[in-house]
């Protein structure tokens, strides 16, 4: 790509990957990386590079995700994203945010819950998820009311990106402009080749870790091959979303018959919003103790596909699947532009793979927008 990246690109032989993990651990991080569990590639704690999913490939299609462990390839990152993004590491699926206690004198005291945050080094973040992370940062951190729970975890997250070389059939990050190559938002970035990794630092935190490995520069051929693999990964993608702002086209078509048609297929289950790396909706519930004098305020992920999401006393704003699916899509691809200056879709394709009935966001968007897109 540029002479700069060639300058800064070092080569990490595959047998030395363990040294990177050791260096991160030495710097105080707990390593979390991809492992095969429950027939999916999940982000889990790792202590050894041998635990990475060697020879694993993944097939994805609408409503389908299958791990294949038969590949003879030495590669450990030759798969597209599993169900998790970085979201659960920072925006906890369920957590207590504060506790209320009735004192002996009848008063009420409120205490902030401590965040159990450990310094984590995440190995294997993909470009689409880094784009989503930037959006979640904007939502939770960069407004008038920064979220203290998200902030504490975010501060202690070290990110090792891995450029995606094996997109799934459901991926379309090239069309949203978010991948497959990570351009920013990482501390270190790896490009996997058969014999090892081209590695570069992307932050002041990443540089000393890279320096401590004492690696030699990557060859021009290695750098070129890494770039070629990224280009091939982009060219392989068959799905796409129009890269321009779909807000006007979507809001012009709020009465389109397609909304009712997709609602006939949609189960309103919320899988799409759970796996979406940018969806941020959450609910707060009081969880009182049996004593009656204490209650925890618990927040957990919510979904705009639930009835409760839009319920106010005596009235549900979105009573049916048609209006809920329309809310999700018009927000994600439309009003997201007003709120965040870009679309809320980073092209990871998870909502397509993990939809039990295989609804495809790219297909629905193009059906609704039609020639207005």
């Amino acid at each position: 790509m540029t002479s700069k990246s060639e300058h800064n690109s070092m080569f990490l032989p595959r047998p030395s990957l363990q040294r990177l993990l050791d260096a991160l651990r030495g710097a105080g991080y707990r390593c979390v990386g991809p492992r095969v569990k429950d027939n999916a590639v999940l982000y889990l704690p790792i202590s050894s590079a041998d635990e990475l999913p060697s020879g694993v490939e993944v097939d994805q299609a609408p409503g389908q995700y299958r791990v294949r462990e038969s590949s003879p390839s030495p590669r450990q990152f030759a798969w597209a994203n599993g169900p998790q993004a970085l979201k659960p590491l920072l925006f906890a699926p369920r957590e207590t945010i504060w506790r209320a206690t009735r004192t002996a004198e009848g008063g009420l005291s409120f205490a902030e819950a401590a965040v159990q945050s450990e310094a984590i080094a995440l190995i294997g973040a993909r470009a689409c998820d880094l784009a989503a992370l930037a959006l979640q940062d904007k939502h939770f951190l960069h407004g008038e009311f920064p979220d203290p729970y998200y902030a504490q975890r975010r501060e202690r997250l070290f990110i090792v990106a891995v450029n995606c070389s094996h997109p799934a059939a459901t991926c379309f990050c090239a069309s949203t402009g978010d991948g497959p190559r990570a351009s920013s938002g990482f501390d270190l970035a790896l490009s996997e080749l058969d014999e090892g990794f081209v590695i570069e630092a992307g932050s002041a935190r990443g540089q000393p870790i890279l320096d401590s490995l004492g690696l030699g520069p990557a060859s021009a051929g290695q750098v070129e091959q890494a770039l070629a693999e990224s280009e091939r990964a982009a060219a392989m993608q068959t799905r796409s979303l129009p890269s321009h702002n779909l807000r006007d086209a979507l809001f012009m078509n709020l009465d389109h018959p397609r909304w009712a048609e997709v609602a006939d297929r949609c189960l309103s289950c919320g899988n799409c919003t759970s796996v979406c790396p940018t969806c941020f909706c959450h609910v707060e519930n009081a969880a009182p103790a049996l004593s009656g004098t204490e209650s925890e305020q618990v927040r957990e992920w919510d979904s705009c596909f639930t009835r409760g999401h839009s319920h106010i006393h005596g009235y549900t704003v979105r009573p049916d699947t048609r209006t809920r699916y329309r809310q999700w899509l018009t927000h994600k691809l439309g009003s997201w532009h007003d709120q965040f200056g870009r679309s809320g879709c980073v092209g990871c394709g998870r909502c397509i793979s993990w939809c039990p009935v295989g609804i495809d966001i790219t297909e629905e968007a193009s059906a609704v927008c039609g020639d207005d897109a």
Binding site: A100, E284, A286, S310
Partner: protein
């Protein structure tokens, strides 16, 4: 500063308004915090009941008089039914104030029209009180309030008092008028033909959306600019800081960019079911 953490407040007085509507008059336990507390009419607090949860309630006191924080509440759900059981001296939690209130700066020196329906009057009662407290700063005031049944009219003596003031017109209507109901029987929008709606007036609307839609249309037909029509929206507000996503209305979070909106800002989606 944790935006989710409530502060303790004491119920200084509980006022029974109707069989299911009550007002909690609150003071923050922390005296310095209570002194420092500032809000604009139309803003709301999240009111917390131990073990039950939080609800968004608009603040109906007159801003700036350093008194109590009044919250008028209808018992309609789990939390509000619980709050209804509380008595003077009991404690609740409050967070706030949140959201954008009524545009009082732009309202200075102008004629004003206030249209409300049902308990919708609560968020604008603070405005009416403010206007009457600073009478010289505002022009003619037209108050239009509708209720389903005449028994549900809150603060009936106040309307009678307001109606007796110079430069104020009060028009009340009940869908169902009971005995001794001196006002109109019919929909609130039916009284518009009697209303004094000076050109250049600013209008503030609050209440059921179907009523606000009709009122906005009638006001516009009577020559009030759409730019001068403001409405307070109600949505599922949980976090109150624009994070939880429930109150989204197109591009806006009602808890942050609202609950008070200029009509042109929300007009496109206002009549679309599902937003």
């Amino acid at each position: 500063m944790n935006p989710y953490l409530p502060r303790e407040a004491r119920i200084m007085e509980r006022v029974e308004e109707t069989p299911d509507i009550f007002t909690l008059r609150l003071r923050l336990t922390d005296a310095a915090a209570h002194e420092a507390y500032r809000f604009a009419p139309g803003q709301f607090n999240m009111v917390y009941l131990l073990g039950a949860g939080e609800v968004p309630i608009s603040i109906v006191s007159v801003p700036g008089d350093a008194g109590l924080l009044d919250h008028t509440i209808r018992a309609v759900g789990r939390v509000t039914n619980g709050l209804a059981q509380l008595r003077t001296g009991d404690r609740v939690g409050i967070r706030g104030p949140f959201g954008r209130g009524w545009p009082m700066e732009q309202a200075r020196g102008r004629d004003l029209v206030v249209v409300t329906g049902g308990l919708g009057c609560a968020p604008v009662v603070a405005v009416i009180n403010l206007i009457l407290a600073q009478r010289a700063n505002f022009g003619h005031l037209t108050i239009i309030q509708g209720v389903k049944h005449s028994d549900e009219l809150l603060w009936r003596p106040r309307y009678a008092l307001w109606a007796s003031l110079a430069n104020v017109q009060v028009l009340l209507s009940a869908d169902h008028g009971g005995p001794l109901w001196p006002w109109r029987v019919g929909r609130v929008t039916d009284v518009f033909d009697e209303a004094h709606l000076p050109s250049g007036a600013m209008a503030m609307l609050c209440g059921p959306e179907i009523m606000m839609q009709t009122a906005a249309r009638l006001l516009s037909q009577r020559g009030i600019s759409e730019d001068d029509i403001y409405l307070s929206l109600e949505r599922n507000m949980q976090c109150a800081v624009g994070h939880c996503g429930h109150c989204q209305f197109g591009p806006d979070f009602v808890c942050r960019q609202g609950p008070v909106f200029a009509y042109p800002k929300i007009k496109q989606l206002f009549s679309v079911k599902g937003f």
